[in-house]
Symmetry: C2
Subunit: 200 residues, 2 copies
DNA sequence: ACCTGAACACCGTTCAAGT
DNA sequence: ACCTGAACACCGTTCAAGT
């Protein structure tokens, strides 16, 4: 801190500073409110400066989405690993972590989903795949220990993913409230386990 | 058609014309591309004219969302009733209708979810409730004939809703493609029925 | 290599004035 | 009651010029 901060923005970390401030603005006010010019102002730089690091507004949004996927992946993995060894515990913890991300960063998640089908390859897709892989590995664990029926992890993994994402959408859309969330999430996981369990 | 069209916009149906054009623009180019001024231009009216019918851009978006819910409700109901009397047929048809709406009007659906938690009462909420009621009535039918376990229709209805909405999100987000959709949707419904079936 | 600042074409919103 | 058109403050993007 101190004397260097004023000059620091002009020397190497402008890109990082812009992304950090953008993420804050998106979280607090939504994507609509995000203005490149205001971002530049907040970060203490002229309005033309961001151009060196982001070709246009969309490029900044894409970078934001990519960083979002990276963070989501970390948060999901930490939740899974922090929940111990039991499959169902891990499942519940990971689902809860996804919901937490989706509610804290609802606008960012929207951005992440929106940006994905732009370029079929690229860093954004890679970051997304890495985040989703946490779910698929979890499914593999459940299959390995015989709790879930065997098969491609994607098949049942996408169903789990869809359900959790849908619950998050209902919550951020104001269709259900926080009070109904826990019940719905518990029901969803119970249904999922019942529906995917190996027949006895 | 003909001579009256030029003047007609200035005499009573400007609101309707703006909404219709806005819906088209949102479908074809997304909400971001929607400009009040361009809308006014396309409809042949000065840029200040929309103000009489929509206080600001957000008011237009809210009206768009409300109309979207009304149409979604109609499409879901038509799908359910057009599928005959069998519960599972109706369930499949209604889910497919939701996915169809969500893919054809992805940006509009986003708008519908975004606008909902603004004012807790109002016409938007009412239109939304009416659309959702189709799902809940369907659940009641399933419970009535003993296919689904009894209970509040909302409890299992929200789960069904979330799953379908989540699948739509994965599809419009480019995380799954059309080829994977049918399989995933069939799996989801099968899971749902297995998980909610009355124990024998 | 990175940033500045003028320039351009657009936008939402407001409001007096017209019909 | 409804629409027009000037005005204002903002925006994204471009690009010559500075360091």
């Amino acid at each position: 801190m101190g004397v260097t901060t004023q000059r620091a923005y002009h020397h190497g970390n402008l890109r990082t500073a812009l992304l950090a401030q953008a993420e804050r603005t998106v979280r607090e006010s939504g994507v609509q409110e995000l203005s490149l010019r205001e971002l530049a102002r907040e970060v203490g730089v002229s309005h033309g400066a961001p151009r060196r690091h982001f070709a246009d507004r969309q490029a900044l949004l894409d970078a934001l989405a990519e960083a979002g996927f990276a963070r989501l992946g970390v948060e999901l993995r930490e939740a899974a690993e922090g929940a111990g060894k039991d499959f169902q515990d891990r499942l519940r913890a990971t689902a809860a972590a996804y919901i937490r991300f989706a509610t804290r960063d609802a606008a960012l998640l929207e951005l992440m989903f929106a940006g994905k089908h732009r370029e079929p390859d690229g860093a954004l897709h890679e970051a997304a795949e890495r985040a989703f892989s946490v779910l698929f590995e979890l499914i593999e664990q459940g299959q390995g220990e015989g709790t879930l029926e065997p098969g491609e992890p994607e098949r049942v993994g996408f169903l789990l993913f869809a359900t959790i994402q849908g619950i998050a959408a209902l919550l951020t859309g104001g269709i259900i409230d926080d009070g109904q969330l826990d019940e719905l999430l518990a029901d969803a996981i119970a249904h999922f386990l019942r529906g995917s369990r190996v027949a006895v």
